[in-house]
Symmetry: C2
Subunit: 310 residues, 2 copies
Amino acid sequence: MLIAQMEADEIQELESYFDTISQAVEGELNMLLPQAEDETDDSRLFEAMRYSIFAGGKRVRPVLVMATNELLKGKTPRALRVAAAMEALHTYSLIHDDLPCMDDDDLRRGKPTCHVQFDEATALLAGDALLTEAFSILGDRATHPDSTVRIDLVNLFSRSAGAAGMVGGQMIDIASEGKKIEDLDQGALARLQRKKTGALFSACCEAAMILNGASKEEHHRLTSYARNIGLAFQMVDDVLDVVGNEEEMGKRARSDADSGKATFATLLGVEGARMQANFLCDQAIQFVRPLGKGSRTLELLARFIVARGH
Amino acid sequence: MLIAQMEADEIQELESYFDTISQAVEGELNMLLPQAEDETDDSRLFEAMRYSIFAGGKRVRPVLVMATNELLKGKTPRALRVAAAMEALHTYSLIHDDLPCMDDDDLRRGKPTCHVQFDEATALLAGDALLTEAFSILGDRATHPDSTVRIDLVNLFSRSAGAAGMVGGQMIDIASEGKKIEDLDQGALARLQRKKTGALFSACCEAAMILNGASKEEHHRLTSYARNIGLAFQMVDDVLDVVGNEEEMGKRARSDADSGKATFATLLGVEGARMQANFLCDQAIQFVRPLGKGSRTLELLARFIVARGH
């Protein structure tokens, strides 16, 4: 293995960072999202938005925003708003992804998904509202006094989330479901991933750079870092899907491949995907280490992503 | 009747204006929306977005943007981009509204709705992408060189479309479906309408004012105009729903009320709703007439909205 296993104190350091950021970003979202005051007819919408936002989640994207912001010595309150907008955007994509016409998932992190807890129409609208809310948060003067910075953030978010980014990736994902594994090579799968999950990962680092400005070198290094850990994150997710399935349901890794859904795990095998993820995170660390001591959290994050797969 | 019937030449003048704006805004959208180059996996998404955008429609909102822009002597290319963004936003709301979990409509303007022509997942994503695309269009430098103007437009759109605006209105609409007419008075219905359809109508005039700046008086008069015709437009829609039903299916106006759905037509009766719409459009005209000759198209539009109900 290229990356050394994480020591207990390193894991604790990162977990404590995750806890701090999660609390801060949830506090921010609690302040920003509309709140049901009385029992009005739209209070159900606000409840659904908050239900999914506060349903837990690792908050990896906010951590990525905040750690990059710290590296660039940015102001915390501004970055927290951007992290909150990013989490609103991410949550919208999960709510719509879980709908019956998409992945049809009843549970997410052990809790009923939005459309199960409420109903399909409410979940659809809650997703729509959270996507719209992300732009509201970015557009507000509190995010940054310079309107050029704010409009750059709006453009980054719309580009990363739209037809050329995340939503385009979701479409490719659906279209590829029927395809045989032989027809999907690693390149095609990486292109799908780059849009579906990679675009938002990259946007997290990019957003912190827009907030604070970044030198050409910082931009190159942080962009490469984000691309690498985004891809590794997906590979590890695919591995955990298989390994989790094996443990929970006693079904073998191959059965996922038989179901016709190509993933990095079915394409490279569990060990192959793990090795690739290791390699990518090692590269990611090489990219940010020259940026100095401020890169420590980003390095830990890269190592943690790999550690999840073991 | 407060407003004189429209003369044939007035109708022709307005129709020709509608034709010009429709063509221009469709040309703009054709240029702005992603285009399927080859048969790639995301081309289906682009096709679905374009299918619904180019499925016809009155283009009332673009006309409202352009007519207000002309009154304020604004630059046409900038306003056309805003009108295109507004139509993308409006089309997203129609696609999601037509989904089985919402109104479950198979036809819109005589053509299969997006989820019937494609499938539910594609329609969901096409709506998501069009909403995101609206912000992309506004954020682009071509919309206005001043980033403050662009961010003001982003804020206007997100406020009008989000939980406090259109999506909130859709939620109230769903929640009120089960309610008996006795429980929904005209005030409650007007509040619903102000959010569900009124917010975007008002945003059309507001957007043109953001693009060009407006005096306090212009702002007051155009805002009042937009609020009035937005409400009148909904009343006439409700009337046409009943009258159309009567003609097509021989069902009486009361049957719509019996189905449990309160509308202005069921609440005020067909004639009552017509009279209210007349009154509102008359008021709207009084608001903009003092702004001079430039208000002619807006006046014709207000009269046309009423004329539709007869």
